[in-house]
């Protein structure tokens, strides 16, 4: 490929991109598939352009935390599989994977998207814990948006497994038709700044040229539940406002894609 950082920045200044896309448009295709893993309680595969991620949900019954005896819990983990890019190596999660997991987690957790009280089975004794694992299959950029979309879709598609009434053990092979208690549906959109201009859904090469980025998770009412600024450059308040507007607008678009795929 002839592309490089300088070309990307030069083009961005003119409001152009290497792949000819408008600055504020997602790549195509956007494909959202559910139930890609029968062993998970819920799962989704999301493709945005050449980026592919999967999210799988498992459940466990554990003792609630001491400070929240009437609540269950969630955990979100992300793995950047060496399968998905020549840049990733085997081993414990690096900073990029940790940030991806934490930003996705905060979008869901801080929105109070899951009714944690409804996850409680027996106060102080037993509650459902939901564990979401995000994995990359092909990292071609914009993992934040793809991971957030896969996570929410997997949560929406998930069903609780059956529980043996005698032993209390989970029967993972048989699902109930009970969905998770979802109160809100937050989705993250990340806006990037390159060459002083704003754009969304960067390719891997565009990501390497970014000056700043802002991930904004918002629910179906446009209420923001989590944000994360990244990159080396500062942002003015005006830029921040523009980025949020753009993120809220694009979240609607992603939500439509998700809802259509779940029909």
């Amino acid at each position: 490929m002839i592309s490089n950082k300088e070309t990307i920045i030069k083009l961005a200044k003119e409001g152009k991109r290497l792949d000819g896309r408008p600055m504020i448009e997602y790549r195509r295709p956007i494909q959202i598939e559910t139930n890609i893993s029968w062993t998970a309680e819920g799962s989704a595969r999301v493709q945005i352009g050449e980026t592919v991620v999967m999210a799988g949900v498992k459940t466990e019954i554990n003792k609630p935390y001491n400070d929240t005896p009437n609540e269950g819990g969630i955990m979100i983990n992300a793995e950047l599989l060496p399968l998905s890019s020549p840049e990733y190596e085997s081993g414990p999660p690096g900073m990029k994977a940790i940030e991806l997991a934490r930003v996705t987690d905060r979008g869901i957790r801080e929105a109070k998207a899951i009714d944690m009280k409804k996850l409680c089975i027996e106060s102080g004794e037993k509650a459902w814990f939901i564990i979401i694992d995000i994995v990359t299959i092909n990292d071609a950029g914009n993992l934040f948006d793809a991971a957030g979309l896969a996570t929410l879709t997997a949560l929406k598609a998930a069903k609780f497994p059956q529980v043996d009434p005698e032993t209390g053990a989970i029967d993972y092979k048989h699902k109930t038709d009970e969905s998770f208690p979802l109160l809100k549906e937050p989705l993250p959109v990340t806006v990037y700044k390159i060459g002083g201009k704003l754009l969304i859904d960067p390719t891997s090469e565009e990501e390497k040229a970014h000056e700043a980025r802002l991930t904004v998770a918002s629910d179906e009412k446009g209420i923001i539940s989590a944000m994360q600024k990244g990159g080396e450059s500062p942002l003015t308040i005006e830029e921040t406002a523009q980025m949020i507007d753009l993120a809220l607008d694009k979240a609607k678009f992603l939500r439509e894609q998700m809802d259509n795929s779940l029909k």
């Binding site: 062993t39 998970a40 799962s43 498992k58 983990n77 092909n138 993972y172």
Partner: protein
């Protein structure tokens, strides 16, 4: 007591429905998707690329390295903790031995070919799906190969020899053996052979004879995946 009717209604020598695609991971030098029933594997090949640390380099031949991993949500029980497991490391090692005999390692001295395998869902036969997928991905990556490797799990349940056991059959309450096999296409030599359970020597040899036809069916799916990719447009 004999096992005459399989739990999922298949004939004794009938494999589960298979599906294979080559070139599914654009970042990789070669890649594949392989499905046998409810077991699915993604495989990515990176390389040949320089092998580090350098003292591991061999000027006479390259290294084939496999990395097998079940994804955390791919088991039919509890979540699987991410990271290396002893089981995963052993399977990676036997996969390398299963694939290496057909690969011309001298074609990439000092280098390594990394094969990454991740499974989003499993219903037994994971190492076989991984090997069959890896062979497609290696061919897709243009790694010099003198033959194809196809893999399927043979087995015996209460006296009946079967092809491609699923999890319920492996866990069947009776006399069960599970025999993952990989074979070269042209010479029908065995490159992977493991066995768990109970089987007589005569029945084992019978199972291996039947593996020829079973792996041939896998081979057809593998070749079709490669042809589909390379005849497109």
């Amino acid at each position: 007591m004999t096992y005459t009717k399989r739990l999922d209604g298949r004939k004794a020598d009938e494999l589960r429905p298979m599906e294979a695609k080559a070139g599914v991971i654009p970042n990789a030098d070669g890649s594949a998707y392989f499905r046998a029933g409810k077991t699915t594997a993604y495989v990515a090949v990176y390389g040949p690329r320089e092998l580090f640390p350098r003292f591991k380099q061999d000027p006479k031949k390259g290294l084939l390295r496999c990395h097998y991993g079940m994804l955390p949500f791919s088991g039919c029980g509890d979540r699987i903790r991410p990271g290396n497991s002893r089981r995963g490391q052993e399977i990676s090692m036997v996969m390398e031995k299963a694939l290496a005999p057909v690969i011309d390692l001298s074609a990439f001295p000092n280098a390594v070919v990394d094969v990454f395998i991740n499974l989003p869902q499993t219903d037994a036969g994971t190492r076989c799906a991984a090997i069959s997928g890896a062979a497609i991905a290696l061919a897709d990556a243009g790694i010099p190969m003198k033959d194809m490797i196809s893999s399927v799990s043979m087995g015996q349940v209460d006296g009946t020899i079967l092809a491609d056991l699923n999890y319920d059959e492996e866990a069947y309450d009776g006399v069960v053996s599970d025999i993952p096999v990989a074979m070269t296409h042209n010479t029908k030599e065995v490159t992977l052979l493991q066995m768990d359970g109970e089987i007589s020597k005569d029945d084992l040899i019978k199972a291996l004879e039947l593996a020829k036809a079973a792996t041939e069916k896998v081979y057809e799916v593998q070749i079709k995946a490669l042809k589909d990719k390379f005849t497109k447009k």
